[in-house]
Symmetry: C2
Subunit: 441 residues, 2 copies
């Protein structure tokens, strides 16, 4: 049991209207202190990008969802209970006792050579066979890798193309650099190449500078959608022709339930794809260790920008991941995760089949952590968050995951951290909330 | 002994001319791959800030200085040998075994409430008595806190005032945001208030937007200078009147050799100073845990920007610092460090007195890690790096620490990680190199 849950203190607060309202990603942070008169003179010191830095609905729901009694289908936490904690404790002790002067000291800005070499083995399991440790940059989770990519490539007003919906953390990071995030249409098999081509042409005709295509091809957060293998090379080719770098984010790739993995976009395209990986979903997010595999001609730029943000990744954490990869059955652990998440996903889908009212549809993911629900057009899922909490269930409203302003008739359910019986109970509580909204529409 | 030193592999390479040339901070990263013809089309994708992201001479000297046989007076590593590693190993094990589900999981973006509360106790020891844990944001070292400050406050072309010389990592971080870094003149007691006032007036007359004054008032890296207590309030007042926020970086504050600490600029000025602290010099840099104490009216902005970069600080590392602060004699450890570094500083100063040729002067710090040498005007210390390495000693040339382009007649020596006898040997090797340069000038 997680007895001292992070954010528990925040969750213990009364869940005020204000707290829920604070979840509106569209709202941003206030320019002036609430309830005051004239703004503080320091408001004039803020950068223009500061106005773009917004609250993440997912992060706040994450705290609210710790409330006792609530079923949280909100947070996409991995299920760490299946890790060998006693053994990991002994490993951590050994690192500090025997290599403490290294583990607790500054390290190289690119990350340890040992872990970069091992990361190439992890990427081989993900389908990338030619990675060179020289081109791997270890980052503070792949969030930081996204931040560095925006920093290196994007001036204000530059375009990043992305899936709609997409990862809220990436949206927030890109918008913090005043990037113009532009959605590309897709279907249940991901981005549609012909529509990508049209979108690029239209944006270029408007005089926009398109720098990156950000994509989560495997089990997109939040949609759970997997990009069809037969579309992948075409998408890279379209981007190459338009001189757009592909930013491929693949934290869930190894968590395909059947273990039969599609090739990453990066696999056959070493010069055209900047690939992001993470230990957050396959080992431990609390260590904040992710990485970027950077095309050789861009690596020095990327590495220096990363170093300018954090100096170096934490050495102790890198050594713990290295030991885990060297001495533990990490591939076996992934097999365990696949079976566990497959079972939970199946339980969630079964409960949706059983309880959901007419008019609601949802994705049927083959991996990852999330199922994406669509309500009839015109229903805004954001105010339903209140009613869901009253009914004892938390989800994340769809608007959080969209570059577009305005209401969304979608919502995200996460199955990764919740046992099957509780998933069923959560859906049972959610169903009447949605049914009432549909009836009223 | 640190048998598996970080960067050891890099250090084992032959030290080519190219490697040393790569240390030139002024050089920046190459736009096109070396030795090729046309640049890669992706060069057109780089942001304009990317051209400003430069190599850090200190970081590269850090790797070179691991070469066996060299005396490194370059890297400012803390001397971790005096930490109780066996006991810390047991603590790390206990955290993972008993609280692993928290330690290895995502946490809150601002950092744990427990550590933020304890950090207020550390700041009390530093002289800040009114800090509220609500206004503390935990960051990936104070490097990341500097990055977030630049992000929140600086548009391209905005001015950050700073000491000359100043911390190379901050220079690199600010320049990565296309900040116009402008030096303020000082003397052996730090920034001179009247000159600060003049500089602000001159820059404002030019139409510059001045956002921040970045200062390391206690034992500046690289100069070792301490800002005189009687100048401190006046400097904050000048900045307040000009609506400039003070960014006070105080990693060495507790390491004043005599333990009699001057008040931080933040102490009496909660609304006008954004204060940065770090566990890197008083505990363990490899954990990458620093913090910002943010004026209440700016805290939400700062926190959201920090979250957009790294999502959350590493939980395991925060818990290890919390245990260290709760259960260890951390103040006793600081007393140990003070005595240790005082002895080393004295040994370095004594060796300089003994060996340095006519024409070289240096600072006599009362704390911190560094002594700053000045050679006669017109001598460039950068090419002397080669000769120093040939003579078996490494230092950091002064140009690295200056916002100004062009050669510098200064250099930095670090005494923190080197025993007294080795410090003396390093100075003995350095002296003829400097004497030769002075004779030839």
């Amino acid at each position: 049991m997680n007895t001292t849950a992070p954010g528990a203190n925040a969750a213990a607060e009364t869940l005020s209207e204000e707290a829920v309202d604070a979840l509106a990603r569209a709202g941003g942070a206030p320019h002036a202190p609430a309830g005051r008169g004239a703004p503080h003179p320091h408001e004039a010191l803020l950068s223009s990008r500061a106005a773009n830095i917004k609250q993440s609905a997912v992060r706040d729901v994450f705290e609210i969802s710790m409330q006792p009694g609530l079923v949280s289908l909100a947070g996409g936490n991995p299920y760490l209970q299946s890790l060998p904690l006693e053994r990991l404790a002994a490993t951590a002790a050994e690192i500090v006792a025997e290599h403490g002067l290294e583990a607790l000291q500054y390290g190289g800005g690119q990350g340890t050579e040992e872990l970069r070499t091992q990361i190439c083995e992890v990427m081989a399991a993900e389908g990338i066979l030619d990675a060179d440790p020289e081109n791997v940059v270890i980052t503070a989770g792949s969030q930081s890798a996204q931040d560095v990519a925006a920093k290196v490539f994007c001036d204000p007003g530059d375009v990043i193309l992305l899936e709609d919906p997409t990862y809220v953390g990436a949206l927030n990071t890109f918008e913090a650099y005043e990037v113009d995030v532009q959605p590309v249409a897709g279907d249940e098999h991901g981005i549609i190449p012909s529509l990508l081509r049209e979108r690029i042409a239209a944006l270029q005709a408007e005089g926009k500078r398109i720098k990156l295509l950000y994509t989560i091809p495997n089990f997109n957060n939040p949609s759970g959608v997997m990009l069809a293998p037969e579309r992948r090379q075409e998408i890279v080719d379209i981007c190459r022709e338009a001189n757009i770098l592909v930013l491929e984010d693949n934290p869930y790739g190894l968590l395909k339930f059947d273990g039969v993995l599609p090739e990453p976009l990066r696999a056959a395209n070493p010069d055209d794809v900047l690939y992001l990986g993470s230990f957050s979903k396959i080992f431990a997010p609390g260590l904040r260790i992710g990485w970027a595999l950077v095309p050789a001609h861009l690596k020095q730029r990327y590495y220096l920008a990363s170093e300018a943000v954090t100096l170096c990744p934490p050495t102790l954490n890198q050594m713990l991941v290295s030991e885990y990869l060297r001495n533990y059955d990490w591939q076996g652990q992934i097999a365990t995760y696949r079976a566990l998440y497959a079972e939970r996903c199946a339980a969630l889908l079964e409960a949706l089949d059983e309880f959901m009212p007419e008019g609601v549809s949802w994705t049927r993911p083959e991996g990852g952590f999330f199922v994406w629900l669509t309500l009839p057009e015109g229903i805004d899922t954001y105010p339903l968050l209140h009613e869901g909490i009253d009914a004892g269930v938390v989800f994340v409203p769809g608007a959080a995951f969209s570059a577009a302003e305005g209401p969304s008739s979608k919502l995200r359910l996460a199955f990764s951290a919740v046992p099957p019986g509780t998933l069923r109970e959560g859906v049972r509580r959610l169903a009447p909330v949605l049914a009432k909204a549909i009836a009223a529409a």
